[in-house]
Amino acid sequence: MRALILVVASFLVTLPILPRTLCGLGSEAWFRGDAAAQVPHGNALARVLRERATVPGPIYHTGDARFDGQATIATYQMAVMALGQLALQRPGEADGYLDTMNAAAERLADPETLTYAARVWGAHGVLRMEAREGHAYLGYVNLALGMLRLVDPKTRFAELNDRLTEELTARLDVSQNGLIETYPGETWPPDVAAVAGSIGLHATATHTNRSELLSRWGVRFARCAVGDSGYLVQRVRTGTCEALDAPRGSGTAIASYFLGFADQALSQRLYAALVLGERTLLGFGGIREYAPGFHGRGDVNAGPLLFGVSVGATGFGLGAARMNGDDAMYTRLFRTAMLFGVPAQVNDGEVFATGGTLGNALLLAMLTARAP
């Protein structure tokens, strides 16, 4: 009996204090953007991607062409976002990341990278888009090109960035519900948020004012795709506002990050819903994947679910929290990321040992998220 009391007392004394302290070390430095915290991760990611981007085609080979292509696009895109955000914080060190950003942009613009999209549309959107086609997956490509342009205004990808922005802007502007297709018959609002984010980032990079257009679009988009909970619906039936999936935390969090480049008010609105969807335990934070009243088993966007909290929503929530200047929630989510990410030293910097290339690119982009 005495031993049991001592065991319980020991846990009661330590659990609320020590784990959160251990895993929260460095969170303030990350939030402030201190070089000592961020640069070692940036250096390691830049080296890995610089080597990887010399090889055309998908990074992963699971046998599912769609997943492999999307994971590759996400890896290169998030790497460019992460390195660009680091470079913008420390303009003097931008040259060190430009080689990798250019190599990643080369792969993003390469039709061989997302052969799945080219197959279902009949042509890769980077090369040709018919007026009635959406190609919202190009929002991810165009976001990276916009970030690259912000760091290097004379980038050789400027022309492609202009053309994609023009094409995607025209589509968003005429869409009655603010949505366009990603693939034929598939409309995913988080992808459309990426498109809007890329238009906003292009406007910043080229000193163009598109705020009125984006603001008008944001009203239509929110009316159609934001649920009562404030979470963004993950998928709707093409041409309508009929939900085909639940309002989801992963889509809401990544959209809040993307929209930070285009429509701050809408980004904040989605973020406010994420704050309500946060679950905390002992100072560790996580974001619920499904809005209240909805249930499901998640998918590749959400990653593994534990007690309703998803890896995707929590990881993307870090970016949304930093984008919206919420250091308290950033710190709680940071602790969870550090507990399971397992930071480790490598020769030329630091990586998250459990993340792989995609996880490291995603996490670094979210940890360093900032509106330009």
Binding site: L6, S10, A353
Partner: protein
């Protein structure tokens, strides 16, 4: 179990867990573990990943409580219960091999 036993067990387990996390993380960091997880091509790596996470959670969550438990045990030693010990034999007597008192010499 004695406090010394607990301290020894804690020290050796923590040493093993730290080594596992340090070397496991270094090995996993050198490769794209996601490729292994997604394709299940290398179950050894997937197992190592699970072990690494378990060791990390153990170190962060359980070890501090275990340390405090050992400190508390030594700070509040167990009070002896049961019948009182018999008084020492009076001077001039010894306890013989049969267990009963007997005269000296």
């Amino acid at each position: 179990m004695s406090t010394r036993f607990h301290a020894l067990a804690l020290a050796s387990t923590v040493t093993l867990a730290v080594i596992a996390v340090k070397f496991g993380a270094a090995r996993l960091a050198a490769r794209d573990v996601l490729a292994d997880v997604l394709t299940s091509a290398n179950l050894g790596i997937v197992g190592a990943l699970a072990g690494l996470l378990a060791a990390r959670v153990f170190l962060v969550m359980l070890v501090p409580a275990w340390m405090v438990f050992i400190l508390a045990r030594s700070a509040f030693p167990r009070r002896r219960l049961g019948p009182p010990e018999p008084p020492p034999p009076p001077c001039g007597f010894r306890v013989d091999s049969e267990g009963g008192p007997g005269p000296n010499g």
